[in-house]
């Protein structure tokens, strides 16, 4: 183990050095010179200390030549550098050990929040799925956990209002449809590994299923009372297709937000509504007339029957009484002329009569 650690630090040191001449940004003016201050410190000394010493050294010449020269010098001297017995050697070891420990702890314990699943891969191969709670796996390079949210219901909007996205219906009409698809992830491992573009797939499947269903209903059905049926049918079809891909996706539902005729023919559809209102108006008027007429008929008939009951009791007298009363009322209100002499054709001065009337009216 300690050998490995030593190697690790050595490799790190090597990498840190090679950065030097190319001036990769490391905080101190862009150049990180290798240590060459003649001390007994070997070329593989710990990096942080060297950096610290480098800061105070002022500008460095970071050319390739310089680097090569230094490297040569360092490699030549390297033989003499004794690794064991360095004062801060153990400190480095401890630091590395601590780092490793933290790494182990952090990459092997996983807290999966509710509504999430953790898909565990061992060297890339799927091994298991973690449910919510705290779980342990092997540390990171060996086992990796990818958290997938399986609870949240996602929504994809298809076809927006006002767009030119028209669908053909079964009766070869066009329909402007906007709807949304709600879905969540049912099995995270399938979701991760089966489809290359899950969201795009859902979109295409939704579009295909919706158009297939709409192409089998009439325009009025799609706009009217069969919407719910269409929604559930599309959801079913989508689920079937997605299952055939083993997608691990659960379709929660389809919601048709808008199903309208295209803008170009909207006026004609409004006319139909107007016509329906008109037709209702006609019927209402007729009903009013009907009611009125029936009431009138019943009223008159009842009145007649009432009079008739009385009339039957004394027909002759009642009849005469009614006759005289009516005549009285009528004749008292009109101009009367009685021609007494029989056989004489009376001359009626009609203009005269009219004049009299006009005078009376004034």
């Amino acid at each position: 183990m300690s050998i490995h650690l030593g190697w690790g630090s050595r490799v790190r040191g090597l990498f840190a050095d090679t950065k030097g001449p190319w001036g990769s940004g490391s905080g101190d003016g862009g150049s990180e010179p290798p240590s060459d201050d003649g001390q007994s410190s070997g070329p593989w000394g710990d990096t942080p200390r060297r950096r610290r010493s480098a800061i105070g050294k002022g500008p460095n010449v970071s050319t390739l030549d310089e680097f090569l020269r230094r490297s040569r010098a360092r490699f030549g001297r390297g033989r003499g550098g004794g690794l064991p017995g360095r004062p801060d050697r153990s400190l480095v070891l401890w630091a590395l050990l601590g780092f490793l420990l933290i790494w182990l702890v952090f990459t092997s314990t996983h807290s999966i929040s509710p509504g999430e699943s953790g898909v565990v891969t061992t060297f890339g191969r799927y091994s298991r799925t973690l449910t919510s709670g705290v779980s342990f796996t092997l540390p990171s390079p060996i086992e990796r956990v990818k958290k997938v949210d399986v609870q949240t219901i996602r929504s994809i909007d298809m076809g927006s209002a006002g767009s030119d996205d028209l669908m053909l219906t079964g009766d070869q009409n066009l329909l402007d449809l906007a709807y949304s698809v709600r879905w969540n992830i049912r099995s995270p491992e399938l979701f991760l590994y089966q489809l290359s573009q899950p969201e795009e797939t859902i979109r295409e499947v939704a579009e295909s299923a919706m158009r297939a269903v709409v192409s089998q209903v009439t325009l009025n059905d799609a706009m009217g009372d069969r919407r719910a049926e269409i929604e559930s049918q599309v959801a079913q079809n989508m689920q079937r297709i997605l299952d055939s891909y083993h997608s691990g996706i659960q379709v929660q539902g389809i919601a048709i937000k808008q199903a309208d005729p295209p803008d170009a023919v909207n006026d004609a559809f409004k006319q139909v509504t107007a016509a329906q209102q008109d037709a209702q108006t006609y019927i209402n008027n007729a009903n009013a007339y009907s009611l009125q007429l029936r009431q009138k008929a019943q009223g008159e008939a009842t009145a007649f029957e009432k009079v008739y009951e009385q009339y039957k009791l004394a027909p002759e007298v009642t009849r005469r009484r009614m006759y005289y009363e009516t005549m009285e009322q009528v004749l008292s209100k009109v101009d009367k002329t009685i021609v007494e002499v029989p056989g004489v054709t009376p001359y009626l001065p009609l203009p005269e009569v009219k004049k009299q009337q006009q005078e009376r009216q004034q």
């Binding site: 191969r125 799927y126 158009r211 192409s215 006609y282 007649f304 009849r319 009614m322």
Partner: protein
């Protein structure tokens, strides 16, 4: 060992580095989503993590595998279901109607070696499949009538597109899972505007028919009311037609000469003969009767 490291730190570092590289090179990690074709000097020799229908995820294949470093290269090929989208194109049905069709196919590479040899990269594969899909769709749809595109038959059409596409795709080591029409639209211009015209006139027709039906119903309601009123009158007045005649005459006189008190009736002059029944008493008792 330790002594050697102490003596030759640089050399041992280099050795370690090379060894690490060798290990990494020799034992590649294959993720679940990829298949890997091992190519030795340009010749495919074996496949890691090949897709097999029905095999559960994580069964075998993915994970750490081996290869001869530097001599064998890995060609990565996606294991997941992928899609190829057809270019939107016009299709003419047997009844000479034009339709714009958009379709997509879902496929999976089941034979990565074949695919690598025949197509090369995935991009090239899609580029080759796309026109084939397009022409197959066009061929199949060109054989049917416009109206049957809008029926359940269309699934059958898609199945036959899938079969014929599959026949070609198999040569690339590809299995087509599904071909679906995404959209069937009327092309812009004359076909679309004539469809709009048809819709508009159909609606106008509907509007007229609704109005006419309303009028019809209204008329029936009125007639029924008339009939019922007549029945009511007849039932009541029929009891004594003679008296009804008299009664109605009296009402009629009042109405005609006096009005119902609301409207002014035009002035009337009545010329009466003494023979009038009303005046029979005028000439005294025993007069003409």
């Amino acid at each position: 060992m330790r002594g050697f490291i102490g003596r030759r730190p640089i050399l041992s570092g280099i050795i370690a580095f090379v060894a690490l590289l060798l290990v990494l090179e020799s034992f590649p990690v294959i993720p679940e989503t990829k298949q890997a074709v091992v190519v030795r000097f340009g010749k495919p020799v074996r496949i890691y993590n090949q897709y097999k229908a029905g095999r559960p995820i994580g069964a075998a294949g993915a994970g750490i595998n081996w290869r001869i470093p530097f001599a064998e290269q890995l060609v990565w090929i996606d294991k997941r279901v992928q899609d190829v989208d057809m270019q939107r194109q016009q299709v003419i049905s047997t009844d000479q109607r034009r339709l714009e069709v958009d379709a997509f196919a879902r496929y999976r590479i089941v034979n990565p070696t074949l695919m690598y040899v025949r197509a090369g990269t995935e991009q090239q594969l899609t580029d080759q499949l796309r026109p084939i899909l397009g022409s197959e769709v066009r061929n199949e749809l060109g054989r049917i009538e416009f109206a049957s595109l809008l029926t359940p038959e269309r699934q059958g059409i898609m199945d036959s597109v899938r079969t014929s596409l599959n026949r070609i795709a198999r040569q690339y080591g590809v299995e087509v899972l599904d071909v679906r029409i995404k959209r069937t639209d009327l092309p812009d211009g004359a076909p679309l505007s004539s469809a709009f015209d048809r819709m508009r006139t159909a609606r106008e027709q509907e509007a007229r028919s609704i109005r006419a039906q309303g009028a019809k119903q209204a008329q029936i309601i009125r007639a029924e009311a008339d009939a019922e009123a007549a029945r009511t009158y007849a039932a009541s007045f029929g009891k004594d037609p003679d008296f009804y005649d008299f009664y109605r005459a009296m009402q009629s006189y009042q109405q005609t000469f006096i009005g119902d008190g609301q409207e002014k009736v035009a002035g009337t002059t009545i010329v009466l003969s003494p023979q009038n029944d009303y005046l029979k008493e005028f000439s005294g008792r025993g007069g003409p009767k």
